[in-house]
């Protein structure tokens, strides 16, 4: 039963990893931009939530209603004010600008919130669990996170394939120049994509903060998990990203059980093996 439990825990953590990864995958799909600051933006959302929670005394889940729109707006502004100017045939500018941004955010957080470990107060959700069978209980909060991951991915899938905005996203992704000839304002479309990406990031950041303790230095680690989930799942496939997150989560928890203290390492090793065996991921859609 121990092992079943470990696998279930792993699957549920995978939901959180999928939330980390969805935003990264989304902007890569629309504008071929890899945001190195992605992980730091996740941690920034956790800290934003913490500041509001301690200021207003509300529950973190209620504060989501403030943090998500805030990050949405930040994403729009960031793309229009900065990242749009880095896009072009050369991959260096977006890579190095977001790398610089990552260092700036990390150190700004360090300056404002110090290096101390923080946690968002989750109240009763923290310990609530559901007994499934004798000796097997599953936490309520991890299940909420997992359900949210599925809902977000289903929502984005709908947005991409069933709405006008989704057509605009896909058109810009396929051929940005022709899309412009059809009257699409690329700068606005890219900014909306980044805004949606950061809205998902906000959700992920708040869940992260409620689940474990966090400090300004953990951003890059979250970026790496997100990246691994995207690559395992296959570029351009949102459901693949969920699968990637689950595989990563299960590898970490089961690996940590087999070799205590090596959970992160186990996740990375499984990722590298999959990269060698299936370089294009499990469910590849996009080329490149």
């Amino acid at each position: 039963m121990d092992w079943v439990n470990a696998v279930i825990q792993g699957v549920l953590v995978g939901g959180l990893y999928a939330l980390f990864a969805t935003g990264l995958s989304l902007i890569f799909g629309v504008m071929r931009l890899v945001n190195i600051a992605h992980g730091d933006l996740i941690v920034l959302s956790s800290f934003l939530c913490l500041a509001i929670v301690s200021g207003l005394g509300l529950h973190p889940l209620i504060v989501l209603a403030i943090v998500v729109p805030l990050m949405f707006a930040l994403g729009y502004a960031l793309q229009r004010g900065l990242l749009n100017f880095t896009l072009g045939p050369d991959i260096l500018p977006p890579l190095l600008v977001t790398f610089g941004l990552s260092i700036v955010i990390q150190n700004a957080l360090l300056e404002v919130f110090s290096a101390d470990s923080q946690k968002l107060p989750a109240g009763e959700l923290q310990t609530a669990s559901l007994q499934i069978v004798e000796g097997l209980a599953v936490g309520v909060f991890p299940m909420i996170v997992f359900a949210c991951a599925i809902a977000v991915i289903a929502g984005l899938q709908f947005l991409f394939y069933r709405t006008t905005l989704g057509s605009a996203f896909r058109a810009t992704s396929d051929d940005a120049d022709t899309a412009r000839l059809m009257g699409i304002d690329n700068r606005h479309i890219f900014a909306l994509a980044m805004a949606i990406s950061l809205a998902v990031v906000a959700l992920a950041g708040v869940f992260l903060g409620m689940r474990t303790s966090f400090d300004p230095s953990i951003g890059p680690g979250r970026l790496i998990y997100a990246f691994e989930a995207v690559i395992i799942g296959g570029l351009g496939s949102l459901w693949g990203t969920l699968a990637g997150g689950i595989i990563l989560g299960v590898s970490q928890i089961v690996g940590g059980k087999l070799f205590p203290g090596a959970d992160q390492l186990a996740g990375h090793v499984v990722f590298l093996i999959l990269l060698v065996v299936r370089p294009r991921g499990l469910f590849p859609r996009a080329v490149d």
Binding site: I224, H268, V276
Partner: protein, 345 residues
């Protein structure tokens, strides 16, 4: 053949000859540090030298081969740990362990490359980062190497470098300066060789270079392994100076890759002079701003972002364009025999 006799192709220009003299003077000035400076100055120059060497290697990868690595700390750490393993476990003389550390890093670089070369562009960057993390976490698991808390070089090994402290510092200093000069020289030599032409072709268009007979994979692999090997050598030297190694510091992204990226971006990416200018600027900024703690890194990050947006060719790129400066000419230029400007009638 009368046609061909009317022009020649050369790489050197008058400014490049003057520039070489200026650089030579700079190297002599640094090499004379033991005569004009004390212990602190020598340490500073060694640090300057290894940052310059690391920057040359990163620039070779990112600026010329299009391999933007965010995982060069992997090879600094591997080189550092190789020094400890060779000199403590195998009883190799520490100075002989330095080149062996370079070889070790190269041996690790080959399988690493076979994995990360499956990723392109920005995903390649994060892939190299993951492999560096794997090395960091793996070394933290080895309790014989002190696990997560690391270990120190035993006094016997330190004494084997040289008898007295000042002699040891002189040895490390000499190797440091030699390493900075050698890594700059190797990049220059490489770019003027046929590999350099191939590299530039790959950077400009992978498909076109492949169709013209450049073996993209082999050229990139060669450059990646070469850079890893020299980075490993540098790592071993760094830890021969520090005496103490721990996984978090040896595989630190900030220390061995982020600073280096900022150096190259600020100085000018894709130019040999860039890392030199960048390292000088980096040390000047550090001298004035290091007391500011996290503000210092924020300022560095912002400067790099602004340069990437406003002047992606970096400080040296701006100077070179303004004054036609090329201290390390790798561009081939056309000259007509009778002194007429190229392109004239």
């Amino acid at each position: 053949m009368a046609e061909t006799a009317q022009y020649r192709v050369a790489t050197a220009t008058r400014t490049s000859r003057i520039g070489l003299l200026v650089l030579l003077a700079g190297v002599v000035f640094l090499a004379m540090t033991p005569f004009w400076g004390g212990r602190a100055e020598m340490r500073l120059v060694v640090e300057f030298c290894y940052f310059l060497a690391l920057a040359q290697m990163w620039n070779l990868l990112a600026g010329y081969a299009g391999l933007v690595s965010v995982g060069q700390q992997a090879f600094v750490g591997l080189g550092g740990y190789a020094l400890f393993v060779f000199s403590i476990w195998l009883g190799v003389h520490p100075l002989l362990a330095l080149p062996l550390a370079g070889v070790t890093a190269a041996l690790f670089a080959i399988p690493t490359a076979l994995v990360v070369f499956r990723l392109r562009g920005a995903y390649f960057a994060i892939g190299t980062w993951v492999t560096a993390e794997v090395y960091r976490l793996s070394f933290a698991q080895v309790s014989e190497l002190g696990g997560g808390s690391g270990m120190s070089l035993p006094i016997g090994v330190i004494k084997a470098v040289a008898g007295s402290r000042s002699e040891r510092e002189l040895v490390v200093f000499a190797i440091g300066v030699a390493l900075a000069v050698a890594s700059t020289g190797i990049v220059y030599w490489l770019l003027r060789s046929r590999y350099g032409l191939g590299l530039t072709a790959i950077r400009d268009s992978e498909a076109a270079s492949e169709s013209l007979g450049v073996n993209n994979f082999r050229t990139k692999l060669f450059v990646y392994v070469l850079a890893a090997s020299i980075t490993g050598f540098i790592g071993a030297l760094i830890y021969l100076q520090k005496f103490r190694i721990a996984p978090d510091a040896a595989f630190s992204l900030i220390d061995w890759t982020a600073y280096v990226i900022f150096i190259v971006v600020i100085g000018g990416i894709g130019r040999i002079e860039g890392p030199i200018v960048g390292t000088i600027v980096f040390f000047i900024l550090r001298e004035f701003l290091a007391d500011l703690g996290s503000w210092y890194l924020m300022i560095l990050g912002l400067v790099a972002v602004i340069i990437m947006l406003r002047a992606p060719q970096g400080i040296w790129g701006l100077l070179a364009a303004r004054f036609d400066l090329h201290f390390f000419p790798v561009q081939r230029r056309l000259y007509l025999r009778d002194g007429r400007p190229p392109g004239g009638p």
